[in-house]
């Protein structure tokens, strides 16, 4: 198990990312954060907190579950569990910032874009992730990321949330158990 990002570097990185977002969106009046369930939720929450600190204003924070939008929705999941999607406002004309923990194949993001479009017609959609890893299968890229990392095909990136809310990203073999002892599982790369 190799650590990519520890809680301090994630906190520092998200603060820098929040600054970049505010700059690019002229403050944040039209911004809506949409976390991709479930890995993106803790990241989006942390990012929203930094945005609030910078702008004295917290943009609306929602989430989408992409299970029903997967390109293998009806074949690959023998036991699908669908979480709630919560979009707090109309997305018409908004700047939607999708937030996930790891960008890998791009298929999850493709599905999330489709899901977001069903809630209105955003002015634009961007993507923020903690780790941008190699292995893209679709022409999709992250607008904001803390770290770009090349890992082997038999490795996986997991993101954990410690009890105090700190996030860390580690690389481990694909065969490793999902939940290492002592670390509550929070997310990690999906597809």
């Amino acid at each position: 198990m190799r650590t990519l990002l520890d809680p301090e570097s994630v906190a520092r990185g998200l603060r820098r990312m929040a600054g970049e977002i505010v700059e690019r969106h002229a403050g944040a009046p039209d911004l809506v954060l949409v976390a991709i369930r479930r890995g993106g939720i803790a990241v989006a929450r942390a990012l929203a907190a930094w945005l609030k600190e910078l702008e004295q204003y917290q943009p609306p924070l929602g989430s989408v579950d992409i299970t029903l939008y997967r390109d293998d929705a009806s074949t690959a999941l023998p036991n699908p569990r669908i979480g709630p999607s919560e979009i707090p406002c109309s997305l018409d004309g908004k700047h939607v910032l999708l937030v996930d923990d790891v960008l890998y194949t791009g298929r999850t993001v493709r599905a999330a874009i489709d899901a977001v479009m069903d809630y209105g017609r955003p002015r634009l959609i961007e993507l923020a992730v903690l780790v941008d890893r190699n292995g893209r299968e679709l022409p999709i890229g992250a607008n904001y990321f803390l770290k770009a990392e090349t890992v082997k095909t038999d490795e996986r990136i997991d993101v954990f949330e410690d009890p105090s809310g700190g996030l860390s990203a580690v690389v481990q073999p694909k065969s490793a158990p999902r939940i290492p002892p002592g670390a509550p599982r929070h997310g990690g790369e999906s597809t």
Binding site: A73, P80, D114, Y119, G188
Partner: protein, 314 residues
């Protein structure tokens, strides 16, 4: 971890508590879909759902049809009168034909108890029972339980539910009694003695031949439709008599808890089993049941159409 898979939904009697709760949880996610600006998800794109209704039904068929379409499946309806059965085709031949059309899910309603089981045995498709004779109507029970959850919370333990009317002939009563007992509710059945089935104790419910003791302290009151074809001696003498003794009106509803909710699977006979003011009153969840019906059927169709395959790593 496949013990709560739902391939067929033939009756509540085959359902485990885990499967039932999983269906209700999944329906929660689909309720959100039905309230969006775009009420459609691509989950069952390329799948075919065939609704075969050998018995007339407007609301159940429409609800299944809408559910399938909101999942992006191709939905075909075959009504009893227009199907080849009127030309002498057997149920077996109908099933073989639908199978050859590569139906992924067959939704079947039939006047014979056990018809859905028969279809499931002879078909490669997932089969959903939309009502078979006097046996079961599982999606109605699930949508009723879902409606109760929305209003009273997820914990059914200790909840008092009264089911009133023609218990013998009602597949709705049977499926509801089974599901509510499975979920832990305290269920009371009430109806004229002639309309209580002989082995009614096996449902594990309190049974009354008057409506008042069933209503006493109830959290939920479910009224059943009196089917006019059952009218006349010896089972049921007259509608007015029934309304007087077993109908739910405001005065009787006061026997239930102040925050009790009233349900009816529809179509209602206003002024017979339920009075106008109760049906349209503040306790009524009758239209919530209709909305819940689409969400619950989306969950059932989605799970029935999801094929077995290798587990992915999320």
């Amino acid at each position: 971890m496949t013990d709560d898979r739902i391939r067929h939904l033939l009756g509540i009697e085959d359902l485990s508590l885990r499967s039932a709760e999983r269906l209700l949880d999944t329906a929660q996610a689909f309720l959100e879909v039905t309230r969006r600006p775009v009420r459609k998800v691509p989950a069952l794109r390329g799948k075919t759902i065939i609704n075969v209704f050998f018995e007339a039904s407007t609301r159940t068929r429409t609800s299944f049809e809408l559910a399938g379409k909101r999942l992006s499946a191709d939905v075909v309806n075959i009504a009893g009168s227009s199907s080849s059965t009127s030309k002498g085709e057997t149920l077996r031949d109908t099933v073989n034909t639908l199978d050859a059309m590569h139906a992924d899910v067959i939704v079947v309603r039939h006047s014979a108890s056990g018809a859905a089981h028969y279809v499931a045995r002879h078909s490669r498709a997932g089969v959903v029972n939309a009502g078979d004779g006097m046996h079961e109507h599982p999606t109605q029970a699930l949508l009723d339980a879902f409606t109760i959850r929305q209003s009273k919370g997820n914990d059914f333990r200790g909840m008092k539910v009264a089911i009133c009317g023609d218990i013998t002939h009602s597949r709705v009563a049977r499926s509801n009694a089974l599901l509510l007992r499975l979920l832990g509710a305290d269920v009371a059945l009430a109806g004229p003695r002639t309309l209580l089935p002989t082995a009614v104790e096996s449902f594990g419910c309190r049974v009354y031949d008057r409506i008042e003791p069933a209503l006493d302290g109830a959290d939920v009151v479910m009224m059943l439709r009196i089917q006019r074809e059952r009218l006349g001696a010896p089972l049921l003498p007259a509608l007015r008599e029934y309304a007087r003794v077993f109908g739910l009106n405001s005065a009787r509803l006061r026997l239930a808890k102040p925050d009790a909710v009233v349900m009816h699977p529809g179509p209602m006979n206003r002024g017979v089993e339920i009075s106008e003011e109760v049906a349209d009153g503040s306790h009524s969840l009758i239209l919530n049941q209709v909305e819940a019906g689409v969400a619950v059927r989306m969950a059932v169709l989605y799970l029935a159409a999801s094929e077995p395959g290798a587990p992915t790593d999320g």
